[in-house]
């Protein structure tokens, strides 16, 4: 997404760049969720709420899970870091990255599913790009509009960061 809105934030995020490069290369891939099983859930975590082994603010680009993200944070758009805003649907297929959780020192595999069906949220743009690859390597490419695989077609609203596993090789 148009990262340049806040590229000045990048330097200040340098301290958040904790990803293992080796871990990322081992962990890239594409996650395909079962379609038709998308529940509607209440907001499970609000801005500023801290969890001991999952530290950080999901409405802030510095949050550890966002190490490979490039998009508007759903946490600022009416959703959460794991759920889409009302009125949108989640794209089942996307790129994944591996990020180091400073709360437990482990590397997690994050699936950056896009929320689709409303146009660009425009809030909390976050571009960190760790491990991002060119778009002919789609499984690791955050420059692609992954709403292409959603039931709302290519209308991109915001991006999530969902834990789909631990990368024991990292």
């Amino acid at each position: 997404m148009n990262w340049f809105d806040n590229f000045f934030e990048k330097t200040s995020r340098t301290t958040a760049r904790l990803t293992s490069r080796r871990g990322f290369v081992a962990g890239v891939g594409v996650v395909l969720a079962g379609a038709g099983a998308f529940p509607l859930l209440p907001v499970s975590r609000v801005r500023g709420e801290e969890i001991a082994n999952d530290p950080g603010d999901p409405t802030n680009c510095d949050y550890w899970r966002y190490c490979a993200i490039d998009g508007y944070l759903c946490s600022c758009c009416g959703g959460t870091h794991t759920a889409c805003p009302p009125g949108t649907v989640m794209s089942p297929i996307t790129w994944v990255g591996t990020c180091l959780n400073p709360g437990d020192g482990k590397h997690y595999i994050l699936s950056y599913n896009d929320c689709c069906g409303k146009s660009g949220c425009g809030r909390c743009l976050c571009t960190r790009n760790e491990g991002d690859k060119p778009m002919y390597l789609p499984q690791a490419a955050n420059n692609i509009n992954w709403c292409a695989g959603s039931s709302a077609d290519i209308i991109y609203n915001c991006s999530t960061a969902i834990i789909v596993g631990v990368d024991d090789d990292a």
Binding site: G78, S119, D168
Partner: protein, 404 residues
Amino acid sequence: MKRFAVSIIAVLATSLPLAAADLPEETIGEVVSFAREDHARLVWVTDMNSPYQAESRAYLIDPDAGRFLGMLNLGYWTNGMQLPATGNRIVATETHFNRTTRGHRTDVVVSYDAASLQPLSEIEIPPKRVSSVKMQGTSALSDDDRFLAQMNFTPAQSVSFVNLETGSFIAEVDVPGCGNIYSGGDREFHLLCGDGSFLTLKVDEDGLVTERLRSAPLFDPFVDPITISGVRKDDTWYFVTLGGALLELAMTEEGVSLIRTWPLISDDDKDDDWSIAGFQHLALHAPSNRLYLLTLQGPPEAFEDPGTAVWVFDLETQTKIDSFELEEISISIALSQDADPLLYVIGAHIPMPFLAQLWIYVTEGEAPLAEVVQLGLDIYEADDGTYLRSVPRLGNAPTYIQPW
């Protein structure tokens, strides 16, 4: 798709099993559910989003949490939404082109589900609806929420009527010389006309116009016209003139009549260059009969400029009872209707420290600051003007506030 299946296996192979102390694997596909009853107060802000008019939007905000809850896409250059009293749907007249900004035009009245924020149904109407910078009075709902009247401008002036219960377009009615539409009475729509009079259209059970009533001119549009930004309590509407006079108008099944008029801005205040300000410059707290006016000090043509202060009037005593400065220069105001109300304000934010602004202003003048202004929703205590919080950066041109 085969390559993706292979990739999934690769991911799972390196990622399973999760150790006991690990953060749990999470579900893909969740969508936050929205329920009005989860929020003490709610407010919509509508944005024509110029110069990107094809991307006009409405933003839903919880003013107590200062949280952005979601949005609607409203097609090309929206003139806002209607909010039926039941609260289970949102109604918007939208214009769409089959090539986004060219090609075949379609105008539709869309009903959105208030829980899912998804479009439920649409009713096609003649592709003639007005598009204008200010949104108030461009459409109206009958008090029973059954009929919607839409202002048209091609530049010939007409009104389209829609039956929201049957989901059908009823008729287009010519109203030469008349424009903005307000509801009041049982099933009446009242149109503001260019000679200072009102035209009342009475509709029957099927939404057909059965009677037209024309009032006498109630003000002189060439000397001191009222703005379109009226506010309503029961069947009384309150409008302010460019010169700061309040008109109290009865809008009933009998048509429109003037109850009284009195100055919100005194001659002394006018001598000090005070005038009305902004787009949505009136707000009414019905339970306490208090009227709020957005004001500024400036030359006569500044009536549309951002305001710096809010003045509070008691409608019973017709007196100014309070005033307070706003944190930011502001273009629109509205009020919640509860006992301890909030004042909603669309304010202009300069995303830099005040001292930096001041330095730029002193050294370079206003132009550099003008380039960086952003508009957002500011929330104040209505009773004393205490600033509470903001939801900044709401698109390019948010102008219209609707408490929900």
